[in-house]
């Protein structure tokens, strides 16, 4: 019933964990103050999602239902620890900025939600694709929210890109001349306002699409000939 196509489109858009399920908002709101921070946490979350979804799916016949949640948490926690240690090793500056929110990926309800709702009921290949799609959808929201907050808040885009992409990325930063920005966007209220606007935008697009699909049959029914 779940084709790969469906899984991917659900993860990226239809069932986007941040915009539709509104899960994982704590890290989403907290670290999305710049595009790079958002991207960093998003990719870390994606990696954990991919690994945890696959492993949960692999052990789904072994784990008794009574103890499944502690087991899932254990699996997720192991991967988060691994990701945390590797970030500490390779992206130390970014690790310092994201700080507590890396270990807190364990408590991201989107991850345990996918383990419980999808991975424990599907085969490993599908679970892996689902983890990847959900993770990328989450990352996209983090990146877009981070980019818009950074742009409105301090008038830059991709500042501190070198934290993630190495020294070569130092001059990727785009600076709007003469715009100091509205600090509020960087502060916590900006996160809520920004996320609210993105959700509203998604609803507008969905609404518009629904209208289009509702119209379509009528369009097709009309004869296409044009006499004369």
């Amino acid at each position: 019933m779940n084709s790969y196509r469906e899984i991917i489109s659900n993860g990226l858009w239809g069932n986007n964990q941040a915009l539709v399920a509104l899960l994982g908002l704590c890290p989403l709101l907290a670290v999305s103050n710049t595009a790079i921070n958002g991207l960093g946490l998003g990719l870390a979350t994606t990696l954990v999602l991919l690994l945890s979804n696959t492993s949960v799916s692999l052990i789904r016949h072994v784990v008794r239902p009574e103890v499944r949640l502690p087991v899932f948490v254990l699996v997720i926690a192991s991967f988060v620890t691994a990701v945390e240690l590797s970030m500490k090793a390779y992206f130390f500056d970014l690790y310092k900025i994201l700080g507590i929110f890396i270990p807190l990926i364990v408590t991201n309800c989107a991850i345990i939600g996918r383990a419980e709702a999808f991975a424990s009921k599907n085969n490993p290949a599908k679970a892996a694709v689902d983890g990847l799609a959900i993770g990328i959808g989450f990352t996209l929201v983090l990146f877009v929210l981070g980019a818009s907050r950074e742009l409105i808040g301090q008038g830059t885009l991709l500042s501190q890109a070198h934290l993630m992409f190495g020294e070569a990325a130092r001059d990727w930063t785009i600076q709007i001349e003469g715009f100091k920005g509205a600090l509020l966007a960087i502060l916590p209220p900006g996160a809520f306002l920004g996320l609210g606007s993105i959700i509203a935008l998604k609803n507008v697009i969905d609404h518009w699409q629904q209208k289009q699909t509702a119209k379509e049959p009528v369009v097709e029914a009309t004869p296409q000939e044009s006499p004369g």
């Binding site: 509205a182 600090l183 509020l184 502060l187």
Partner: protein, 348 residues
């Protein structure tokens, strides 16, 4: 010959939103005139910019929401928001900040929640806090009262500064602006000076800052007018001012050289405007009388606490917004007993 007879009740009630809002505007006029007298034309220009922005924003969003525009514009609530906002901001604030603040107040704070009567937060104060948090330096460019100012700005010069033409020749922001009395008091106290020392400066009047105390007095007059017209009731102003007075007196008695005297707290910053015009906004307060007493008192406590131990010199906007948030809960727990119902025993 027969006269038509009416049955009781014989007294009519002619109040509607427009009349209430118009009286609020009327009550603000003395304070606005006083502000203009002491701090120049900026106030009037800001009121004009804010009103135009507020009305345009309201018309725009109503059109977007497919609602009737004229009746909502005519209820004057957007103008009241604009005027309350304009008297809270510095007189020389760049025009685009005023416009931005008003767009936020009307579109986000008021209309996104459903318009007048549905907004949980006071739009004017939310806009003020938005700007204060986002543009701290522009939002603290306060002018000294005219008696202390060495450079007087006429109407055209003020207009030029607000619309971004820069300062007149040979003037700098540092020369033009001055700390507010609350700010000055705070800075000097932090430097370890005593109140009697601080008050040697010519910027002090009889009990508050020179000029600002009289602005507060004239707003007080407007507030009393509202009380007399029964637009507002005494509960919120009295409890808010009472709480500030009690706290200020307690600390002042304990250490008169380190804590400003009570009247200073009352007639500086936004306390009087806040108590009579802002905290009493009928939409965002508690509706029960007992609840209003709690609401007002807690605003007072917050104002004194933030002023004395918080990060900002004045706190009326923050206190009002925080208590707006608590208003529904206070209302829930202070519902009056229905006649005939037994009084509930025990806890909540």
């Amino acid at each position: 010959m027969q006269f038509s007879t009416y049955s009781s009740p014989h007294t009519g009630h002619s109040e509607n939103v427009t009349r209430v809002m118009a009286q609020v505007l009327l009550a603000m006029i003395p304070g606005i005139i006083a502000m203009t007298w002491y701090f120049g034309w900026g106030i009037v220009i800001n009121i004009f910019i804010a009103s135009v922005a507020a009305i345009s924003a309201e018309a725009f969003i109503l059109k977007l929401r497919k609602r009737a525009i004229t009746p909502v514009i005519m209820d004057l609530s957007a103008v009241v928001t604009a005027v309350l906002f304009a008297v809270s901001i510095p007189p020389l604030l760049p025009w685009w900040l005023t416009v931005g603040g008003m767009l936020f107040a009307i579109i986000v704070v008021k209309q996104l929640y459903g318009g007048l009567g549905f907004n949980p937060f006071n739009p004017a104060m939310a806009a003020y806090v938005l700007l204060l948090v986002s543009y701290p330096s522009e939002m603290t460019n306060w002018l000294p009262p005219r008696h202390l100012s060495t450079h007087s700005l006429d109407f055209l010069a003020t207009l030029g500064i607000i619309f971004g033409n820069g300062l007149p020749q040979g003037l700098s922001w540092d020369a033009l602006t001055m700390a507010t009395p609350l700010d000055e008091m705070r800075t000097q106290l932090d430097m370890g000076k005593m109140i009697s020392e601080i008050r040697h400066s010519p910027m002090w009047g009889d009990y508050g800052g020179l000029g600002t105390e009289w602005v507060a007095n004239w707003f007080l007059l407007g507030g009393l007018f509202l009380l007399w017209r029964r637009i507002i009731t005494w509960h919120i102003p009295v409890s808010m001012i009472g709480a500030i007075l009690i706290m200020a007196t307690a600390w002042w008695l304990a250490e008169p050289e380190a804590n400003p005297f009570p009247a200073f707290h009352l007639f500086s910053g936004g306390v009087i405007v806040g108590a009579f015009f802002i905290a009493t906004d009928p939409v965002t307060t508690v509706t029960t009388k007992k609840g209003q007493l709690i609401f007002g008192a807690l605003i007072g406590v917050l104002v004194y606490s933030i002023r004395s131990w918080g990060g900002y010199p004045d706190a009326v906007a923050f206190a009002v917004l925080l208590m707006n948030m608590a208003a529904p809960t206070i209302g829930y727990y202070t519902q009056p007993r229905i006649y005939g119902e037994q009084e509930k025993k025990g806890g909540i």
